[in-house]
Amino acid sequence: MPERADPVPARLALSGVRKSFGAVHALADVRLELRAGEVHALVGENGAGKSTLVKILAGVHAPDAGELTMDGAPLVLTGPADARAAGIAVIYQEPTLFPDLSVAENIFMGRQPLRGLRRIDTAAMRERATELFARLGVPLDPDRPARGLSIADQQLVEIAKALSFEARVLVMDEPTAALSGVEVERLFAVVRSLREAGAAILFISHRFDEVFALSQRITVMRDGRWVSTDPADELDVAQVVRRMVGREVSQLYPKQPTEVGEVILRVRGLNRRGVFADVGFEVRRGEIVALAGLVGAGRSEVVRAIFGVDPYDAGEVLVDGVRLPGGRPAAAMAAGLALVPEDRRQQGLVMELSIERNATLTRRWPLARFGLLGRGAERAAAQTWTQRLQVKAGRLGDPVSTLSGGNQQKVVLAKWLSTVPKVLIVDEPTRGIDVGTKAEVHRLMSQLAGEGVAVLMVSSELPEVLGMADRVLVMHEGRLVSEIARDAATEESVMLAATGQGGRA
């Protein structure tokens, strides 16, 4: 990092910040310096610790070590209220609105304009919300409830919130992930005007064109550590990617060419009102098909409907030409489907139960004798699969919550692979797990496809999608908008389709 003589202290500076959750080191010795009138980009892979850093700036987590200073003076944040009082506004990756309250109330919660007797001045609040939306150039109605707003509109409400209290520091955690081109341009115009007004801005994004277009300096993080901070004009995309990944990308995704067989899973005209519409595709034996799209595009909802966890209004799901009854996961399992869900802690595992119990949950009946589940049978079955997947565990009788994220994910995989599925559906298979385990999961998927299993993978990580998939299906706002073959799939083509601009490109 080139050290320049800087007479004015940074607006907000972090140094030596460390944060652990249990045995997991989320951040180690991280530094960051945000200057007034500057957009500072923070890039890194998923799991690099960016979101943890954001939560520290927001006062949600207190760092285990290290210090924060604002304008040179030490700053201690004991909670989100402190951060707000210090003038730090945070826009999270996923909007945090109150669905039952009106848009105006969401913007001004806790800071409503007051009139006599400290009453809330509803008229003034509505007026100021209308002004904010006029400034943002969006026709949002301040009186409607936040429930039912699209992700993009929710994001705009969050931005209006940050505008409303004249933030001195604005932290944006992937604000553009769910926005279309026009919306992104509008957001950038607002960000630039804030910057000119002297705010310090931290901008987190996976889209490099945006990072380079908007920011003056770029900090790269990897595996919870600070890697580098440089002026944006001294860097190029290739350099940034190399620093983010820290290795060659190709070895991460050991995709083997496989023989693609006949169609196993066929989805036709699947429709769920207001969630997704007219979704149809096929997955063949030995093929890995990725379902890409932005957060909230309806991908998880589609695979949940296919597996029968969620209902659908119209359409059909065929496995080997046989129609599956909707809404019955047991029937889907019997037909040879397996679903590794998005959220392993909530949906994939019973956290309090032992590893062996979790690993054999899908085979309670085949393993039972006379309806009684013997411990020996369970343990033997669990042993086989945890060994095959190299789960690193102390004892199989320990609660699954004692495992690291990557090993938990392996237990979920073991549980489903033990049913010997014909179609394996994986939803965000490597979210929040370390790089080593990630590669193992990828190798496993590739190997399964080689054995003739059809794999349908929902993933928000573009490198994973591009590295693993034979075909990429892209969803946008509940519709399948594009199908891209492996050779034609690039970061750009997928992103364009995912933001709803596939037609124009």
Binding site: F98, D100, G110, D143, R144, P145, R147
Partner: protein, 353 residues
């Protein structure tokens, strides 16, 4: 309800507002009003039919009885609504009421000349104390309100029983000034009912017009987001339980004034009536929406059903079934409405984009 252009507003303003602002406001407003109007209509219908069957139902004395009957339930429902709006529940209100009622009786046994204000303060204060216990257990020990207040339901009642030790306080032991409070009226409205009206108006005003009141809704709507907003979730929930406890204590004093005869079993089982009234009144059981006015109307409806069914010669055994059916209908209505609104809001977005 059609929404044609209103005559007063200018054409451009009307167009702009009709497209964005006014449409949403009307939607939100209509929903709010729909529920209250619905309960109001049910109430009018019930009273109308019952009066047609027996005109004495709405005679001077009949009206007084109806209002008195609703008073205690309304006070409890207002407190309960405040708690439920934050996605919590207070099951201990019946026991707090019993404790406060008995304490009021004991106070007058010890000091026959005690001023009524003192009795109100003592009863309410005792309720506040119970609420502090509830709130502290929930906020500090982070135990769900359902479990905490289920526990304190028995604890408070147990204290009540051991304190009373089988003693019963008779109306004759009460000073006449206090007893007359239970029967006095102002312009035809019983004095006790005025307490309930005052409580309702203050609570309604607070929830609508104060930041901390709106924060209660925010907490119930999404507790995690409320924390990220820096809302002191623990303190607010604590406050809600203290208020609920205090109102249950006040209800205990009103109970003592109305019935005069007290033992340790006063108010047993009333907590479920209160929760039922709140839910029927349109407060979502998972918090975030509803109003104390709705809850109060729900309470009036339930207590009126209680008075009307005997007049209508309905077997008293059916009364509980009617209340139960009403709760199920209210919840069914909520689900249907929520689904419709969700579809509508989504539809609007899709059209607008």
């Amino acid at each position: 309800m059609t929404t044609t252009t209103r005559p007063g507003a200018g054409p451009d303003a009307a167009e702009v507002r009709a497209r964005s602002g006014a449409a949403g406001m009307r939607l939100g407003h209509r929903l709010f009003v729909a529920r209250e109007v619905g309960i109001g209509l049910a109430l009018v219908l019930l009273v109308g039919v019952t009066t047609a069957v027996n005109p004495r139902f709405l005679s001077g004395q009949g009206r007084q009885d109806l209002m008195l009957g609703a008073t205690i339930l309304v006070v409890l429902a207002v407190g309960q609504a405040i708690v439920i709006i934050t996605r919590n529940v207070d099951l201990s209100v019946g026991s707090i009421l019993g404790l406060a009622a008995f304490a009021t009786g004991k106070l007058f046994l010890a000091m026959p000349d005690a001023p009524i204000v003192l009795a109100v303060l003592v009863g309410t204060g005792l309720g506040v104390l119970c609420g502090v216990v509830n709130g502290a257990l929930i906020a500090v020990a982070r135990v769900p309100a359902l479990v905490v207040t289920l526990g304190t339901l028995y604890v408070f009642r147990g204290i009540d029983y051991s304190w009373a030790a089988g003693q019963q306080i008779n109306a004759a032991d009460m000073p006449s000034g206090f007893k007359s409070m239970g029967t006095a009226d102002l312009l035809g409205i019983p004095l006790l009912a005025l307490f309930a009206v005052a409580v309702l108006l203050v609570a309604g005003f607070y929830l609508k017009s104060y930041r901390s009141g709106r924060e209660l809704y925010a907490i119930g709507s999404d507790p995690a987001a409320a924390r990220l907003h820096g809302i002191p979730v623990g303190w607010r929930v604590f406050g809600a339980l203290v208020v609920s406890g205090g109102l249950a204590g006040l209800a205990g004093v009103l109970y003592a004034a109305r019935y005069g005869t007290l033992d340790a079993a006063a108010g047993t089982g009333i907590e479920l009536n209160v929760v039922a009234a709140v839910v029927v009144g349109g407060v979502a059981i998972f918090g975030g929406s509803g109003s104390v006015y709705g809850a109060a109307l729900g309470a009036v409806l339930l207590s009126t059903i209680g008075s009307a069914l005997p007049v209508l010669k309905v077997n008293p055994f059916w009364q509980q079934a009617v209340v139960g059916a009403l709760i199920l209908a209210a919840i069914g209505l909520d689900r249907a409405l929520a689904a419709r609104v969700a579809n509508r809001l989504r539809g609007r977005k899709a059209r607008g984009a």
